[in-house]
């Protein structure tokens, strides 16, 4: 089952295309990081997935073949928006009551137990909680809906390092206990590796790279050696990025594991951050391995 599947998805706001020709299929049971610079279309894609906006062109389905935003989908998808929207003047207890009354599937006991564990006082006004606690409260309410897919828009952007750790620990513990899928967007690349196992890179409304993070790292390497041989070596591989000085060159390549390097050249592992930045810098490079066999056709279309 794919938790999110899009074909030719496009979204236009007046004259700007926020998303263009977006083909994705994200397998279930993953923790997916959606990365890209500001204005890349991350929020738009997430909003389309949870049914907060409708596509201009193309299709998007969630959790198998449910239409995004359909009643069945709404019941099984939980969403925490960028600014963790809560009613500031309500107490925590009333906020939980509101969420319970608005959702057909809501486990109040679970929510209250989690809030106790987080030491969030039930009588405090939501507006008086710290930013970290507000984020935890919003997440607790989302988790109490027992979702099959949890969608988080920039969950870490406003949190300090400790609050980030606690917030993600709550998400990860939820995944370990219930096994739901997660999609979260972020423009911070450095911290992704410990949370996510699947990556989508968006730039200018297009999908730049998508795939299992381990596979992506395995299939890339940084080669370093004398600059005058760099063109020669570059011919053997698919080059993503070349950086050259007068004598020394570093080339980020996609490897197949068969080619041999001439002596004097070294091959190094690439870090996720390096890889993402390289693909973001060069919009013409795109890495779209088909995550599923059924998706090959769509992937080829994008690659063209």
């Amino acid at each position: 089952m794919n938790v999110v599947e899009t074909s030719g998805l496009a979204k236009r706001y007046r004259r700007t295309w926020a998303l263009r020709d977006c083909n994705l299929s994200v397998p279930a049971g993953r923790i997916v990081a959606l990365v890209g610079p500001n204005g890349a279309g991350k929020t738009t894609l997430l909003h389309c997935a949870v049914g907060l906006c409708t596509a201009t062109n193309g299709n998007i389905t969630v959790l198998g073949d449910l239409g995004a935003g359909s009643l069945e989908a709404l019941e099984r998808v939980a969403f925490v928006a960028q600014d963790a929207p809560l009613h500031k003047y309500l107490s925590v207890r009333s906020m939980v009551a509101v969420a319970r009354n608005l959702n057909p599937r809501f486990d109040q006991a679970q929510a209250e137990e989690r809030l106790r564990g987080l030491e969030i006082p039930p009588d405090r006004k939501v507006g008086k909680l710290s930013g970290g606690q507000q984020a935890q409260l919003a997440l607790t309410l989302a988790l109490a809906r027992d979702p099959d897919l949890l969608v988080l828009d920039e969950p870490l952007a406003r949190l300090d390092p400790l609050a980030r750790h606690d917030f993600m620990a709550l998400v990860m513990a939820g995944v370990a206990a219930s096994g739901f899928s997660v999609i979260f967007s972020s423009h911070v690349v450095s911290e992704l590796e410990r949370f996510a196992d699947y990556l989508i890179v968006l730039a200018n409304g297009r999908v730049q790279m998508v795939g299992d993070i381990d596979d992506l790292l395995t299939s890339h390497a940084v080669l370093s050696g004398p600059a005058e041989e760099s063109d020669l070596v570059g011919e053997q591989f698919t080059v993503v990025q070349t950086r050259k000085a007068t004598r020394h060159a570093e080339i980020l390549v996609r490897t197949t594991g068969e080619s041999r390097l001439p002596s004097g050249w070294e091959s190094d592992d690439v870090s996720l951050e390096e890889l993402v930045l390289a693909y973001l810098r060069d919009p013409s490079a795109s890495m779209l391995p088909g995550p599923l066999a059924t998706n090959e056709l769509e992937v080829n279309e994008v690659a063209r």
């Binding site: 049971g29 993953r30 923790i31 564990g117 987080l118 030491e119 750790h165 606690d166 993600m168 620990a169 990860m172 513990a173 995944v175 370990a176 206990a177 450095s190 911290e191 590796e193 410990r194 949370f195 996510a196 196992d197 381990d214 790292l217 395995t218 299939s219 390497a221 080669l223 490897t255 197949t256 594991g257 068969e258 080619s259 041999r260 390097l261 002596s263 070294e266 091959s267 592992d269 870090s271």
Partner: protein, 162 residues
């Protein structure tokens, strides 16, 4: 938050080891966990029958992806170092076989009295010695451009063969 939980659940076993992560090391997270278990085995912190920390405890304390922990535990099980008992947890089954202490000592002695001595006499400093040694080691293995997975397999073969 985690501390409270552990107090509330008396059945949670006292963990036999603690994991830590180095985000900047460049080593994949799951491999870091695998290496730490192997290291603890070599040093005797973990012995046969010890239980590894439960997945949900590792996940909550490090705030990492549960799949990563599962992958590390699967890897350890494939190497024959641990065994998973459904519903109970993952337990240490065997220690990795390493080169014997005597052999290590003699190798080390021959390196110090032979090659290292010559390198020092030739005027190489520490960094130069390390660079030269690493380059020679690479030539010795004469590897093609290996992907991470190929290197990993090679490592596993070495562990398996030992």
């Amino acid at each position: 938050m985690t501390i409270d939980k552990e107090v509330c659940e008396p059945e949670a076993p006292v963990p036999s080891m603690v994991f830590r992560l180095e985000p900047r090391s460049g080593v994949p997270t799951y491999l870091q966990l695998v290496h730490q278990v192997e290291h603890a085995l070599r040093l005797g912190y973990l012995i046969h029958g010890d239980q590894l920390p439960r997945v949900k405890d590792v996940v909550a304390s490090l705030s990492i992806n549960p799949n990563t922990v599962l992958k590390a535990y699967r890897d350890l099980e494939q190497k024959g170092l641990t065994i998973g008992r459904p519903g109970q947890g993952t337990f240490i089954e065997a220690s990795p076989e390493t080169v014997g202490l005597e052999q290590l000592t003699s190798l080390r002695r021959s390196l110090a009295s032979g090659w290292l001595k010559q390198a020092a006499a030739a005027g190489l400093d520490e960094q130069g010695t390390i660079a030269l040694f690493m380059a020679a080691l690479r030539d010795f293995r004469d590897r093609p451009v290996e992907s991470r997975s190929a290197r990993r397999e090679a490592r596993q073969r070495r562990v398996g063969a030992a």
